[in-house]
């Protein structure tokens, strides 16, 4: 209890209050401790004669609240200077005693009592002497708000208190009689009633420091002063009138503003009611706390429903429920974990990872989230491993282990991958050495390439003029119309795309030859893939360097390729020897190789992307940044990926051998064309021979050369086939007319026609068609070969 305050109250109310207090606060130990001291002084009932016993009763009853030191929440607020804010946030009222008509003597005494050093006064100069000037005080400007105009107060401002602007000038020469001066109170002599003021900024109290002292204009006089002048002159201007007339009074947020100024909290409002003491309010009962709890419980209900759906295989419904749960309660851990698990199940590994991570963010010890994230990371790592992003995969394994260091799967995968990486680093070094040897031959091939490209462009222009809108792909035509400065790069891009789509179409043809239904299925997928590829090409601008060496001289992370290439060389030999004994089993071989082709395409794609990534950033970082971009694609790809993936080991083997398989294939087809050539027409034979010859050339050069070589080879092929296309087509037509006996052939025909029907849809470059035709011919010959 604040004893001073209690004493003040007792002095005011008299003995009767003390008696009531003794009665009402008998059980308050705090009061009992104070009571003996309070009793020492006698309180004469000198207070208010009409002192209300009910009020005394109230004070006595609520004394523990009223005089509690904690009751006083307002800190000693520093008086703010009213003119600081141009807009009046609350009504600025003239001093109250102006209306109360307090006597002159009392007011004067009150002012000398209450005026303090550091207060701000405004006065008019009435006299200037050599030692300073005298002010007649008009009003208070800060610190204390009193009506002092008629109190005939005079204040001295000594010359020392006037800041001098120049050393030789007399500072007093700047001031004239009648000037309005704002000054800080320097000293008050309460006995002799003398006030000295200062123009030094340091004389002000800290809260008023920023106010400038010195001469002010009439307009700068305080608002309350001008209002009190008006009120003094007009007796009809009451306090109420002025209040209502103030702008600030009508401010809609005046209550909040003033509450803050007064220092009362509106969030934990004070109350004299026992039941409303703020200490009685439990945090759990507040709306925000309940809402949080409720949201969590509602969300959990949705999660439960979602899990139920999930268990019954209704994944879409489950996802809806999870999303609903997260809508109700963002960052609901259970919902995030459940959705993450669903994503992981559906192949959206990156989405799953981000969900698990979010869940762990808000609840770092969630066991399931940890477990699932760990598993998903390992899964993702394996996926990346397949895509040859070994370093990124390794990072993921490490992260998985950091989450759960006892996870055997992650440990095993990490060990394996570190081994692979080390091995591939060694191999890469070897490969690099070889690379340098080859470097000499490179410029010539680049030159050749450029020549071919030029030729191709010319051809394209010609064709573009004549070709139908459907057959010319939008991307190709767009590219060719672009400025010549970037044409080199662009054509390269184009070429790449074509190369890819070409390979794909080849695969497609083959697939369709076996089963047209499956080709229908694959078509959409392929189309999507193509789109993806296009996207990629747009995302990552091709490097300006077109020399073929560049493509092989990449940064760090693509060691896997080199390993393959090494392996390939060996593999090719082995395969070739196998091949000669394998003609009847061509069907099997074919399906195998087509699958490899697919793989190869994918790998190529990822490699291309990676290659570009490594140009600027480390792949790991890139991976992170691209996560969101990639996620959508990843999702799609996963669907197809997962089908193909059976076991890691098998995949490895296949990957290793896949590029060799391609070369092997070209060899094989060549081989077969020779077979068929024996029986077929001579012209046909020579045509096919020429086509396969070129591809053979590529493969004969061996695995190491392949990457550079094949690009070139395809170009050559294209050019050639363009020239020959008409002849080819005519031939084919005649052939399909004459040779319609074999069932195989019929199916093939269908495949061809369906492929050509799809042409506009797939948006392949027109010259690709020629290659299609060529391939189709190979197929036919191959189909016919074993029969003979």
């Amino acid at each position: 209890m604040d004893r001073n305050l209690l004493r003040q109250s007792l002095t005011f109310h008299g003995e009767s209050l003390l008696n009531k207090l003794k009665c009402e606060q008998a059980e308050n130990p705090d009061f009992q401790a104070a009571v003996s001291e309070l009793c020492k002084t006698t309180y004469e009932s000198s207070g208010e004669p009409q002192s209300n016993p009910l009020v005394e009763q109230f004070i006595a009853r609520k004394a523990d609240i009223l005089f509690c030191p904690e009751w006083k929440t307002a800190a000693l607020q520093d008086e703010e200077h009213e003119d600081e804010e141009a807009a009046e946030p609350c009504a600025i009222m003239p001093p109250l005693e102006l209306f109360m008509e307090v006597s002159f003597d009392e007011r004067r005494a009150m002012l000398y009592r209450d005026l303090e050093k550091g207060d701000l006064v405004v006065g008019r100069i009435n006299n200037i002497r050599e030692y300073g000037f005298f002010l007649t005080l008009l009003c208070m400007a800060g610190g204390l708000k009193r009506d002092i105009e008629d109190l005939e107060l005079s204040a001295l401002c000594h010359i020392r208190e006037i800041p001098s602007t120049g050393s030789h000038d007399d500072p007093l020469s700047y001031y004239q009689i009648g000037d309005f001066i704002r000054a800080g109170v320097k000293d008050i002599d309460r006995y002799q009633e003398k006030i000295t003021v200062s123009l030094q900024q340091a004389s002000l109290s800290p809260s008023l420091e920023q106010i400038k002292l010195g001469v002010i204009t009439r307009e700068e006089l305080p608002i309350h002063y001008s209002r009190s002048v008006r009120a003094a002159s007009d007796s009809s201007m009451t306090y109420e009138c002025i209040l209502m007339g103030c702008h600030g009074y009508h401010n809609p947020s005046v209550v909040d503003y003033l509450l803050e100024k007064v220092g009362v909290s509106d969030i934990h409002p004070p109350s004299m009611m026992r039941g409303l003491q703020s200490k009685l309010f439990i945090e759990d009962d507040f709306a925000s706390a309940i809402r949080k709890k409720q949201s969590a419980s509602w969300a959990l209900k949705c999660v439960r429903a979602g899990v139920d759906h999930f268990k019954h295989g209704r994944h879409v419904e489950a996802m809806n429920e999870y999303n609903k749960a997260l809508e109700i309660d963002t960052n609901n851990v259970e919902a995030l974990v459940a959705r993450g698990a669903l994503y992981a199940n559906k192949g959206g590994i990156m989405k799953a990872v981000s969900d698990f991570e979010l869940a762990l963010e808000s609840c770092p010890d969630h066991r399931n989230a940890k477990k699932y994230l760990c598993q998903t990371l390992v899964e993702r790592g394996k996926q990346l491993e397949e895509q040859e992003k070994l370093v990124t995969a390794e990072g993921l394994y490490r992260r998985a282990l950091s989450l759960d260091d006892s996870n055997p799967e992650a440990q095993e995968a990490l060990n394996k991958i570190t081994e692979t990486i080390q091995k591939s680093i060694r191999l890469r070094e070897e490969a690099l050495a070889k690379e340098q040897e080859k470097a000499k031959s490179v410029p010539t091939s680049a030159e050749k390439l450029r020549k071919i490209l030029k030729e191709e462009k010319r051809m394209k222009k010609k064709r573009k003029r004549s070709a139908s809108s459907a057959s010319s792909s939008s991307s190709a035509s767009g590219n060719s119309s672009l400025s010549s400065s970037s044409s080199r790069r662009r054509s390269k891009k184009k070429k790449k795309k074509r190369r890819r789509s070409e390979r794909e179409s080849k695969r497609h043809r083959r697939v369709s030859s076996r089963d047209s239904r499956r080709s229908e299925e694959g078509k959409s997928e392929k189309e999507r893939k193509e789109r993806e590829e296009e996207e990629e090409l747009e995302w990552y601008p091709a490097p300006p360097n077109t020399s073929a060496t560049f493509l092989n001289q990449k940064g760090g992370p693509d060691f896997g390729e080199k390993v393959e290439e090494r392996m390939k060389e060996k593999d090719v030999e082995r395969r070739i020897s196998q091949l000669y004994s394998l003609s009847a089993a061509s069907e099997d071989e074919e399906s195998d190789s087509s699958r490899r082709e697919k793989k190869k395409g994918e790998r190529e794609e990822s490699r291309g992307r990676r290659r570009k990534n490594t140009l600027s950033r480390s792949p790991e970082k890139e991976e992170r940044r691209d996560k969101s971009k990639e996620r959508g694609k990843e999702d799609n790809r996963r669907n197809s990926d997962s089908k193909r993936r059976s076991s890691l080991d098998e995949n490895r083997k296949r990957k290793v051998s896949c590029s060799s398989a391609e070369s092997e294939y070209s060899r094989k087809s060549n081989f077969k064309s020779e077979y068929s050539g024996n029986s077929g027409s001579a012209s046909k034979h020579s045509g096919s021979r020429r086509g396969s010859d070129s591809s053979q050339r590529g493969s004969f050069n061996g695995g190491r050369y392949e990457n550079k070589g094949r690009e070139e080879v395809w170009e050559v092929e294209e050019v050639k086939t363009e020239k020959e296309s008409r002849k080819w087509r005519a031939e084919e037509e005649s052939r399909s007319g004459s040779r319609s006996e074999g069932g195989n052939n019929k199916r093939l025909e269908r495949g061809v026609t369906s492929a050509s029907a799809e042409r506009p849809k797939k948006e392949l470059p027109a010259n690709l068609l020629d290659i299609f035709n060529k391939i189709a011919k190979f197929e036919k010959e191959k189909g016919g070969g074993p029969k003979k």
Binding site: D2, L5, Q8, S9, L10, F12, N52, L54, V55, I59, R61, K62, L66, W71, K72, A74, L76, C90, A91, M93, P95, L96, E97, M100, V102, E106, M110, R113, D114, L144, R146, T238, Y239, E240, Y249, P252, V255, D256, L259, K261, V262, V264, P269, S271, M272, M273, R274, G275, L276, F281, D285, F286, A287, I290, R291, K293, Q294, S297, W298, K301
Partner: protein, 257 residues
């Protein structure tokens, strides 16, 4: 109001209500006293809910005024007072631009009636209560003829405080928590119908008067008293009437709760 929460509160409020009313011969008298008590409890509910909803003082005051005006026009036996209170809170939030969500109001109320209970599920009960609150809001609006904006003493009190403050020596002022006490008294006024019986200025002056009086803060006296200056038409009797009404409310607290 539907739901077990309201029913429980209903029965706990007036357990002997129907038989008591019939039996007693001085029915009008006791009825009035009982109604006052009920209103006090409901207003306490509004206050408490307001704090838990983190409402500012003025919206809470508006809610209470809406409540009292509503039951000035209709009998307390016609409508469930707690439902009216909830709707008043909701409406006051709209009137005073501190929008509240019905969900929060229902949640806090539910916990008020069933302390420590789990929050409501998102089921029929919840939606029924919500519908009732919204329906009742319309009812209140119609009963009050859509006159739902009121002048409150808060503004006056907050303007009076600095004016009075500068009359007093600043050290004396800083010693006594006059602002807190007068604000608390003003908020407590809304427990009873006195908040609509007296003019806002009178209430503001009375609470300030009582606060100054309690701490024995002495103000200079001129030709007029400070309170006479603040409001032209206020008399000592008015102030005393407000104070007496207010002190009754404090007595009521001891009786009701």
């Amino acid at each position: 109001m539907e739901g077990p929460s309201s029913r429980s509160s209903h029965t706990q409020d007036r357990p002997p209500c129907p038989p008591g009313r019939r039996a007693s011969c001085d029915g009008a008298e006791s009825d009035h006293a009982r109604d006052t008590k009920t209103h006090f409890r409901v207003c306490r509910f509004i206050m408490e809910t307001g704090v838990k909803l983190e409402m500012r003082s003025v919206p809470v005051a508006t809610a209470c005024v809406l409540y009292h005006h509503f039951f000035e026009r209709v009998s307390i036996r016609s409508y469930e007072p707690y439902l009216v209170a909830m709707s008043c809170l909701y409406l006051a939030g709209k009137v005073e631009e501190q929008h509240l969500r019905t969900r929060d109001i229902i949640n806090v109320s539910h916990r008020y009636f069933n302390s420590g209970s789990a929050p409501l599920e998102c089921d029929k009960e919840f939606w029924d209560v919500r519908d009732s609150v919204v329906q009742c809001e319309l009812l209140i609006l119609r009963q009050l003829n859509f006159q739902v904006s009121f002048e409150h003493p808060h503004k006056y009190l907050l303007h009076y405080l600095p004016s009075v403050k500068s009359l007093v020596n600043r050290h004396a002022w800083s010693r006594a928590p006059v602002a807190e006490t007068s604000w608390a008294l003003l908020r407590d006024c809304y427990h009873g119908a006195m908040c609509i019986r007296h003019t806002p200025q009178h209430i503001a002056i009375a609470t300030l008067y009582l606060a100054l009086n309690s701490y024995g803060v002495e103000l200079p006296v001129g030709e007029k008293e400070w309170w006479q200056v603040l409001c032209e038409d206020v008399t000592k009797a008015d102030i005393d009437a407000v104070i007496s009404d207010l002190l009754q409310l404090y007595d009521m607290e001891a009786k009701c709760i």
